[in-house]
Symmetry: C2
Subunit: 212 residues, 2 copies
């Protein structure tokens, strides 16, 4: 099976990068093909704008959804988007590896979704037909705060509620939303706790039914 | 009172821009001072990275939260961030005016939050002390789909659940989260319906207790 890891952390030696490498290693050894989109290393443009489109259906009035649909039909997305769309088409599983910033995606990852999971690519927003049915999606999240912060009783609330938008996005595109893997309180983990967490992640990766 | 409108739409003639202008007009006429941060017009950098910091506490290992706190204490944020922080300090009310993209903020607006509502500016992430207490925040949201899409029974789920992250962000910073103003199904509204919606928005703005 084919796995795309969309990785969004500015520090190439962060714990997020360790988790990314664990996934690449484990999945590759299990016989899967793995590609990584390292958004910071790619200097991925986060902001959807008119430069995303090589050709315009309505040159005088910029409606992002109309231009995305036109670009999807005519194959006229900007090159950086087109390359990511190819990876999405190729992938059976998409892993989002990111730190929780303000209870959500870092902007660069949100921008990848805004630009790549476009109208006409991920969903037809005219009919609401999902266009990526059969794929699976997994959010792998690190948090600065410890787990009690993200419980229903905690100050930030239930992390599963926070991730409602990601679940809804995947559902709209027809992508099966796998139970997220959350690494809580990363800054305060001991070396042993980090290794135990990584081992738990390896086990989770081994359990993924990628042949489904 | 002082109102900051953080505006995030790529088309300067979008319905979002009309709503922004309605707010500027109504609030100014009511005697309030209004500033607009037009993120697309400003080419606001969405991506938090090492360039956000003029001085580094840990030059060899980039931890965004540590560098934000250091920049907050030493006044060494990049100029674009420092200018936005001044506006936030000045404002009693912050309005986020944006289209709902993938059930959340456009990336450029998420990036404004990641970079401006920093550790040491909006919250102390060591103690979780909120640093913007006394301010109010209002999300003014346009959607492409009609209202039933965003009900608890609808495909996208309850819009109030979707906005949990924004509520949590404001709460963490001590900002009072006002009930969002949602303009549903904008692309399919008639001219009369748009005017009625704008009138409803004017009424909402008039009811804001900005003198509190």
């Amino acid at each position: 099976m084919n796995v795309l890891i969309v990785y969004a952390h500015p520090n190439p030696r962060s714990f997020n990068s360790v988790m990314r490498d664990v996934a690449v290693d484990r999945l590759t050894h299990a016989g899967h093909a793995v590609l990584v989109s390292d958004l910071y290393a790619m200097h991925f443009k986060a902001t959807l704008d008119e430069r995303d489109f090589k050709d315009r259906q309505e040159p005088d009035f910029f409606n992002p959804l109309i231009e995305q649909y036109h670009a999807a039909l005519s194959g006229t997305f900007a090159d950086d988007i087109a390359q990511e769309i190819k990876k999405v088409d190729w992938a059976n599983l998409i892993i989002f590896q990111f730190p929780l910033w303000w209870l959500s995606f870092p902007a660069i990852l949100k921008g990848w979704c805004d630009r790549v999971l476009a109208n006409g690519i991920a969903v037809n927003l005219g009919t609401y037909d999902p266009l990526l049915a059969g794929k699976k999606g997994l959010c792998v999240v690190t948090t600065g705060a410890k787990e009690p912060m993200y419980t229903p009783e905690g100050p930030a609330g239930d992390i599963n509620v926070l991730l409602t938008f990601a679940r809804g996005m995947f559902a709209t595109a027809g992508i099966e939303f796998l139970s997220p893997f959350i690494a809580y309180g990363v800054p305060t983990l001991t070396a042993d706790e980090r290794e135990a967490l990584l081992e738990r992640y390896r086990e989770r990766l081994s359990l993924l039914k990628l042949a489904d």
